[in-house]
């Protein structure tokens, strides 16, 4: 954009251009473009172009030895869906459950920091953020210890008959938690919880506490105040938080790998093994394109829904 505009201002399409040029010198008019140039170039070359390139890779056939050529082989997509739809479904399901749990767990904590912590607010905030400075792989491995077979957590869950319920729901098997869907969901929930808490907190913090008093003065019970005043006003945080947890959770393969077994493989695991182990680049490219498209579609529908029904 900058290069085309700089040398040829007279040939500009609109008559307003030279007029503006007289008002502000061309050198100054180009300042934003010079500011943008390096960063945008970086994103175009290393983010946008690779996506386009990957689209063409997904339509290639061939082998590692003979090289890959574009043959417009759309069947790769159909084969990928036919073979890996369980992993796709599982990714969406696990990510959705983890997002719901994040909302359920994160909301009280965000509410606590925003309205109840008082002078402890900074301390609680530190306690929320600081754990995430320990490498998240190390923390995820710690869950292996926490959820270990015969460990205290499994013991307590067992004696409370929680595991019977989760087994009935298909989230656990028998007397163990590790290497079951529950462990993967637990890891996902844990890893993405701060992405829910922080947007929730920032939208709750903006709510004027006098609105709560006003609701109380109008004889609303606390539950009603929450349902009719607080929650609707925190919707921007809820939408941002659910998106920030759902999207990375759906593409994650670390929790499924470290805390699950082969029965809990998510689509991220498949992409990773296709790309790094099987070296079937067209399939890996097609899978990541399907994942991207599916997430974009779901996110668009979700934003539109939450925008028309609750945000207004």
């Amino acid at each position: 954009m900058t290069t085309t505009e700089a040398p040829a201002p007279p040939s500009g399409p609109a008559g307003a251009e030279p007029l503006q040029a007289r008002k502000t010198p061309a050198r100054k008019r180009l300042v934003p473009y010079w500011l943008l140039l390096p960063g945008i170039l970086w994103l175009v070359v290393f983010f946008a172009a690779p996506l386009v390139y990957q689209a063409s890779t997904s339509l290639q056939t061939g082998s590692l030895e003979d090289g890959f050529t574009v043959t417009w082989h759309f069947a790769t997509y159909l084969d990928a869906i036919a073979e890996y739809w369980p992993q796709f479904l599982r990714s969406v399901l696990y990510a959705a459950i983890a997002t719901a749990l994040c909302l359920l767990l994160g909301y009280p904590l965000a509410y606590l920091i925003a309205f109840k912590a008082g002078r402890w607010r900074n301390l609680v905030m530190i306690l929320v953020i600081a754990p995430f400075f320990t490498s998240f792989l190390i923390r995820t491995l710690a869950w292996k210890t926490i959820l270990a077979d015969g460990g205290p957590v499994v013991g307590v869950l067992n004696s409370l008959h929680v595991l019977d319920v989760t087994s009935w729901l298909g989230m656990t098997e028998g007397q163990r938690v590790l290497a079951t869907p529950l462990a993967v969901v637990c890891g996902l929930t844990y890893n993405f919880l701060p992405f829910m808490i922080l947007p929730l907190y920032s939208s709750l913090e903006r709510i004027d506490p006098r609105l709560h008093e006003a609701a109380g003065d109008l004889y609303a019970r606390p539950a009603t105040t929450f349902r009719r005043v607080t929650f609707p006003l925190s919707m921007p945080g809820v939408v941002a938080g659910t998106l920030l947890t759902f999207i990375p959770a759906a593409g994650d393969y670390i929790n499924a790998e470290l805390l699950g077994s082969t029965d809990q493989k998510m689509i991220g695991n498949v992409i990773q093994s296709q790309f790094l182990r099987v070296l079937d680049y067209p399939t890996a490219a097609a899978l990541s394109f399907i994942l991207m498209a599916a997430i974009l579609a779901m996110v668009t529908i979700y934003i539109r829904k939450s925008g028309t029904e609750e945000l207004v």
Binding site: V31, F46, L109, I138
Partner: protein, 285 residues
């Protein structure tokens, strides 16, 4: 009279138990949110405590998942495992360069977006937003496909390029928020007082934008240092710290990993507390 008094005196004890349970229930109900929030906080901190405790373990065999007995061996010899401190140093180095690169490029974009009206604005905004709304695997695989087909050798440079790419958007968002919320009249005032554009920028604009830039830089350092997925695809045989941890999960985790995890946690807490105290002192003076 006496009768009524005795009934009045004896009545409360019989009624007291339900009233106290009511009180307890009431207290529970009133503090339900606080209790639930504290439970979530415990859920967040629990793994860190486990990492701390198991950094003092002396495991039997290769895996450090079960408590055996107390030992400070790992703390006295944190680099005792081959390649661990090397990978740590590499991760720090990459995080530092990625932070510098992403902060410089991102701050420039943020200023352009917050300060100027130009035609490609909405397109630029979309290009900034997309990397944050994209699953990491997709970005990682597509960038690696590009490198692979261009015949570029994977290693330090490909990791650095990838990290600058995904940190950039976060810096832009942090700096833009700060610059947007800044009062433009401050700069006008500086110019009214005959400050040159350079002076205005250095003495007024930059100091006000500094917290946003610092936040963006900190965020990209943390993101780059901790990134696994994108690095896994673009590192080749180079091993960063998260990749070392990942590999050790299969081969057997040395206790030193817990030591380093705990040390990172402590350093972060100390930094945050020092920052808070410094901020408070500045506010007071």
């Amino acid at each position: 009279m006496a009768d009524t008094e005795t009934t009045a005196a004896t009545a409360p004890p019989t009624k007291r138990p339900p009233r106290t349970t009511n009180k307890a229930l009431l207290w529970l109900r009133r503090n339900l949110v606080t209790l639930a929030g504290l439970c979530t906080l415990a859920y967040l901190i629990l793994p860190n405590l486990v990492v701390l405790v198991f950094s003092f373990n002396k495991p039997n065999g290769r895996f450090n998942y079960q408590w055996q007995r107390f030992s400070t061996d790992a703390w006295t010899d944190p680099c005792g495992v081959a390649d661990l401190c090397g990978s740590l140093g590499l991760s720090l180095q990459i995080a530092l360069w990625a932070t510098l690169g992403a902060t410089a490029l991102g701050t420039m974009i943020a200023f352009a977006l917050a300060r100027y009206r130009f035609r490609a604005r909405s397109g630029v905004n979309a290009l900034i937003f997309l990397p944050m709304a994209m699953p990491e695997v997709v970005m990682a695989a597509s960038l690696a496909t590009l490198f692979l087909n261009m015949g570029i050798r994977f290693g330090f440079w490909t990791i650095l390029i990838a990290h600058i790419m995904f940190c950039l958007s976060f810096v832009v968002t942090a700096v833009k928020a700060r610059v947007m919320s800044m009062d433009p009249r401050l700069e006008q005032a500086a110019q009214d007082l005959y400050a040159s554009p350079a002076q205005t920028f250095l003495r007024v604009t930059l100091p006000i934008a500094a917290p946003g830039i610092a936040a963006g830089a900190l965020l990209s350092f943390a993101l780059s240092f901790d990134d696994f997925i994108i690095t896994n695809f673009n590192a080749g045989s180079t091993v960063t710290f998260p990749m070392f941890v990942w590999g050790s999960a299969q081969r057997g985790t040395p206790v030193q990993i817990n030591v380093i995890g705990t040390a990172m946690f402590l350093v972060a807490v100390v930094c945050v507390i020092v920052g808070q105290l410094a901020g408070r002192r500045r506010k007071r003076s």
